[in-house]
Amino acid sequence: MKTMDSKTHYLQQFKDVEARTRGAEGSWLSKLRRRAIEDFSEAGFPTTRLEAWKYTNVEPIVASRFKPAAETANGLSPERLSAFTLGTGSGSLLTFVNGRFSKKLSRLGPLPAGVRVESLAAALGNGSLDLEPHLGRHVETSGHPFAALNTAFMDDGALVFIPAGVDLQEPIQIVFATTQAEPAVTYPRVLIVGEKNSRASIVESYVGLGDQAYFTNAVTEIVVQDNATLEHCRMLEEGSRSYHISTVQSHLSRDSNLVSHNYAFGGSLIRNHVNSVLDAEGAESTLFGLYVIADRQHVDNHTRIDHAKPHCSSREIYTGILDDQSRGIFNGRVIVRPDAQKTDAKQTNRNLLLSKEALADTNPELEIYADDVKCTHGATIGQLDEEALFYLRARGISQKAARDILTYAFAGELVDEVKTEPARKYVEKLLRARLPGASETTVLL
């Protein structure tokens, strides 16, 4: 009855949260937490008997019974942090160490009037912005125990608010670093609101320093209002013994446009839920994902695109590169509601297996309740093209370099889709670090 015990462990911890926050925060927030912990209590931790979790066993997380991370920020010097930040001088950076905002490691670039880039705890504390209409309003906690736990326990994270009509030129980067020596859990929470006609680019990075076991349970809510455009890039460079479970929930209004990039490089067990609701005509959601894993890494991406209204389009490309005994899972659900006519949805999952022991699972789930729609999906699982390898080798390129070059080319299509240049450069750097044979810089006329 280990799960039962672990559940009680978290329910017990929640009493501390309630004791700490009671009276100190808005009653709407207390209610939100309470409802979330009840949702968690009802669902409990998932087991592989559940269809949605059949490939991902969270027992190691459950059994670890992580304690909340200590509040002390340690082990992260500005020099070490710089390895994980975009190469921009003037862009804003919010850094969180072990779940806590670090003012010292953060900086705000010059921002247009009304733009808010700050610690969520601070924003909730000073009440300068009404977060009630957005925070916790989009992510589902019923039947989603990890999102429920995050909502019940959320403490700090990032708030990004772009007022109507503002076109933010510089990307905003949010770094969540875990440096904790003891096994611990953090609950990073991010709220991004792009008001109508605004445009912004936001990069979230999750990094682990050291090789301790820890658990990141993250939730990001994204609100893209009428005619707004948002590029959201999420990069996982978690530690080699870490667990990472996340939900990115986006809500799209009329004629809005979201491009989501979901990169997984580091982490021992990763489960991402990327959900997008197209809730008004003309909304467009693009979900890109890339997982480049090796050893015994396990990455499970569950995406759900909900076409709630007519005339919306979605495009999804998830690409896996799996080496050694790693395992990649893609489950892509597309729901087309009864009145969502003229929906245009396209989904692709491509997997490249670099070893005989790597394993890829791909599962498209199309639920279509409207009759005038265009929905396509396709999945491939393959190996490097032996004839292409031979061709490159016949031109003098070593076998190792040829493999890296072809692997990079397989992923390159997605990297090119990152429109924010410093973010694209950063992803290129991460990818080339894993494929040293393709490290020669691009040759252009």
């Binding site: 093209d385 004839e387 292409a388 031979f390 061709y391 490159l392 080798r393 016949a394 031109r395 003098g396 390129i397 070593s398 076998q399 370099a401 040829a402 070059i405 072809l406 990079y408 080319a409 397989f410 390159g412 299509e413 020669e440 691009t442 040759v443 252009l444 006329l445």
Partner: protein, 254 residues
């Protein structure tokens, strides 16, 4: 430069090359002609190091070294180049990227300094002119979306950049119209010199009107059945492969 002795090769249990003997010296241009299925392309792929064949007997020496023991990339770095009969499309890898990686690997192998981007670009632009390749091709993915003729010209362009000591051109002429054929021939002729050996494998005599060989060999059923000078190609064109094949049949029957 190259010496092939009694080379016997099998694929999937079937013997394709049945005792090939051939000597090629620096500066020479050899044409190997033969009907479909005679083993011409197998010979080219064996020389380049393709591993889908089983070598059952024989030796191949290249510049005094045992070629058969070398990895494909090592052969390339030692100056061996093959123009593929069917050049592969490699999406996501540009021509320039591949050539720079290949050229610099060879330079490193020879103990030379790697070319920087500036010198490399100067070189490729100059060589692109030789085979009338548009510069826009250089930044495109290797062979992706190229027409048949463009692919073949791209092979000769790569040869011009990599400057091999021994080039094996596998049916570079097939599928080319007369204009493209002339461009390819012009490129190959420009690359002929006293230090470089070239082996042209072809089904047709047509290319040899533009590239004049020093020696012509006829490959039938896995063996070189006849060798001669350029006149042999002309005779072959006039009389057809049947003329030789019947002779070969008689020879093997004896």
């Amino acid at each position: 430069m190259l010496e092939i002795k009694n080379l016997r090769v099998r694929i999937a249990g079937k013997e394709i090359l049945r005792g090939i003997n051939l000597k090629v010296k620096a500066g020479e241009l050899h044409a190997i002609m033969g009907p479909n299925g005679s083993g011409k392309s197998t010979l080219a792929l064996i020389l380049a190091g393709h591993d889908s064949y089983e070598i059952t007997a024989g030796e191949v020496h290249y510049q005094g070294k045992n070629l058969l023991e070398m990895a494909p990339e090592e052969r390339a770095c030692e100056g061996l180049f093959m123009a593929f009969q069917y050049p592969i499309e490699i999406p996501g890898v540009t021509n320039l990227y591949m050539l720079k990686a290949g050229l610099n690997a060879a330079r490193k192998h020879r103990g030379q300094e790697e070319l920087d981007a500036m010198d490399f670009l100067k070189l490729v632009k100059e060589r692109a002119k030789l085979v009338e390749i548009d510069e826009s091709f250089l930044n495109r993915s290797v062979n992706e979306g190229f027409s048949g003729g463009e692919k073949k010209r791209n092979e000769i362009f790569q040869m011009a950049v990599l400057e091999p000591k021994l080039a094996v051109l596998d049916e570079t002429d097939s599928g080319l119209d007369i204009d493209a054929l002339k461009i390819v021939a012009k490129g190959v002729n420009a690359l002929r010199n006293k230090d470089r050996a070239i082996i042209i494998i072809t089904h047709y005599q047509r290319l040899l009107n533009y590239i004049v060989p020093d020696y012509v060999h006829v490959l039938v059923d896995g063996r070189i059945v006849r060798s001669g000078d350029k006149d042999l190609a002309v005779e072959l064109e006039a009389k057809g492969y049947n003329w030789i094949e019947s002779g070969a049949a008689a020879a093997s029957g004896s």
